[in-house]
């Protein structure tokens, strides 16, 4: 029984990472109809930026927030400079541009920081916590807490602030948004900034366990894709739920279904994506998009 609870908590912890990344993917998709294939690599690069700040002597939380701010700015710049020229281009062009970004960030990280793995600190205590006889890792609980705080802030931002409202409007109906005076282009850039900031948080949370190297986020990203697909690319709530579900299922399947173990995890994610796309492409909570002929 203790194993089960531990695995569920572990699953929620990794699930919180998937939730953050999936939410970032969905936010960008809702606003721009773009799936940012470079999401994971941008998150990885942001984590390296944090590592640089930590190495320069900055205390952890100062470096954390500085990195989030830098990632935000980076996301805004990328949308305005790299994505904007292909905003209305065919799907293939956008896929290629985001793939190009993926490759650039991955190689930049390798170039600047080399490919050797680096340890990354966790801000949470090393001793595990004992809750009702079950031993839980402090870092995992910390991951869940940080993610929930971030999600709560974002929810509040979108729901209660005028800027959040304007961003929602710009994503849902750009034409009408212009007609009320919203600068839609900048709203999109802000969306990318926020998504990049989420990615940075996810990267910094996951780096202590996975160790920092340029290919750190590849496996995480496939699960984020699976989570967004499962929840529905048009539903932020779905993305978050999808993340937690995928995290828990991944852990339970890995523990209890022996022939899958840890070696076939990516295949499980792949199978999940394909099955969902075939059976219910809009995901559990997404809107079905009707194509006009």
């Amino acid at each position: 029984m203790e194993t089960f609870v531990q695995q569920v908590v572990s699953g929620l912890a990794t699930g919180s990472i998937y939730a953050a990344l999936a939410l970032a993917l969905v936010m960008i998709y809702e606003a721009t109809d773009v799936v940012n294939f470079a999401q994971g690599e941008m998150a990885m690069f942001a984590t390296y930026v944090c590592w640089t700040l930590l190495n320069a002597g900055m205390p952890y939380w100062a470096a954390f927030f500085a990195t989030v701010a830098i990632a935000f700015a980076g996301g805004v710049v990328i949308e305005r400079v790299v994505i904007r020229p292909v905003e209305n281009a065919p799907v293939l062009a956008i896929v290629i541009v985001t793939t190009g970004l993926l490759v650039i960030f991955n190689s930049l990280a390798g170039w600047i920081y080399s490919y050797t793995q680096k340890p990354f600190p966790s801000p949470f205590p090393k001793e595990p916590l004992k809750v009702g006889g079950v031993v839980l890792g402090a870092h995992e609980l910390g991951q869940i807490a940080v993610t929930l705080v971030v999600l709560a802030c974002i929810y509040a931002f979108f729901r209660f602030t005028p800027l959040g409202l304007a961003m929602r409007a710009a994503a849902q109906n750009p034409v009408s948004s212009r007609l009320v005076g919203i600068r839609v282009g900048w709203m999109l850039a802000l969306g990318w900034g926020l998504a990049a900031a989420f990615g940075a948080v996810a990267g910094m949370m996951v780096a202590p366990q996975l160790f920092l190297d340029p290919n750190m986020m590849g496996g995480v990203q496939i699960y984020a894709f699976a989570a967004a697909t499962l929840g529905g690319f048009t539903s932020p709530v779905g993305a978050v739920l999808g993340g937690f579900v995928v995290g828990v299922v991944e852990n339970l399947v890995g523990t209890y279904v022996s022939f899958i173990g840890t070696e076939l995890k990516f295949t499980v994610a792949l199978a999940l994506i394909i099955v969902v796309l075939l059976v219910k492409p809009s995901g559990l909570l997404g809107r079905t998009v009707v194509k006009r002929v």
Partner: protein
């Protein structure tokens, strides 16, 4: 002498390669209500879209004497021009209140926002009842009221209205037009109204322009056009 609120000279407009306006000219003074009439495809909607910079144009458009040809849609809005498009353009997933709040986004000062909310709710009580409902769940008439309310939240100097009566019951249309007149008289909002329902439009407006295949074929005070039987019958069909 003050410049007219809106001055359009030799306006041409294209949808891709198709030319929709062939040199339209007219002007509006501040405080007035002008209506553009014409059959389907005459170019009425295109004229409004041209002013809002939503289509490619040639010729000159000035607001308060200032040329707006190089501005983007959102900049024209910030000059105080509220455009209620064909089909209303409501944010269907957002609530009534959120729609109204977004209407105020383009205005210079957010002072008096709560009073403006109350004023709009006073004019359209049904919107107050449904303020937390998703706008997409409202009826056609309620959505039109919401669209007009949203435009008024801008505290606009000029409202561009595209066929507000389309698909609505006569009672509701009369109510909306009553409020438009009130907004014009109490709040000094100038109105440029595009309508197919000529009778209603002539009732509200001071000045009329009649468009036919992208050209102005007739204009004058609405009282004159209303009184002239021959013109009414041949151009307006009643």
């Amino acid at each position: 002498m003050t410049a007219p609120l809106l001055e359009v000279e030799n306006l041409e407009a294209w949808y891709g390669r198709v030319k929709a306006l062939h040199g339209v000219s007219f002007s509006m003074q501040a405080g007035g209500i002008t209506t553009i009439l014409g059959a389907n495809g005459a170019g009425k909607t295109t004229t409004l879209r041209a002013i809002s910079r939503m289509v490619k144009t040639a010729g000159s458009i000035r607001i308060d004497g200032r040329p707006v040809d190089s501005l983007a849609t959102e900049d024209v809005v910030r000059l105080g021009v509220a455009h209620t498009p064909e089909g209303r353009g409501t944010f269907v997933q957002l609530t009534v209140e959120e729609n109204l709040r977004l209407g105020s986004w383009g205005r210079g000062s957010k002072a008096g926002l709560e009073e403006d909310f109350e004023r709009i709710y006073g004019w359209f009580p049904v919107l107050k009842e449904r303020r937390h409902q998703a706008a997409g769940t409202l009826s056609g008439g309620e959505q039109q009221m919401l669209a007009v309310g949203r435009a008024l939240m801008l505290k606009p100097r000029l409202m561009l209205l595209d066929e507000p009566s389309l698909g609505l019951a006569p009672l509701i249309v009369r109510e909306i037009f009553r409020i438009l007149r009130a907004a014009n008289q109490e709040a000094g909002v100038s109105i440029l109204l595009v309508e197919q329902n000529a009778a209603l439009a002539l009732d509200l407006a001071d000045e009329v322009f009649l468009l036919e295949t992208g050209r102005v074929v007739m204009h004058g005070p609405s009282s004159v056009l209303r009184a002239d039987d021959a013109i009414r019958r041949s151009y307006l069909g009643y």
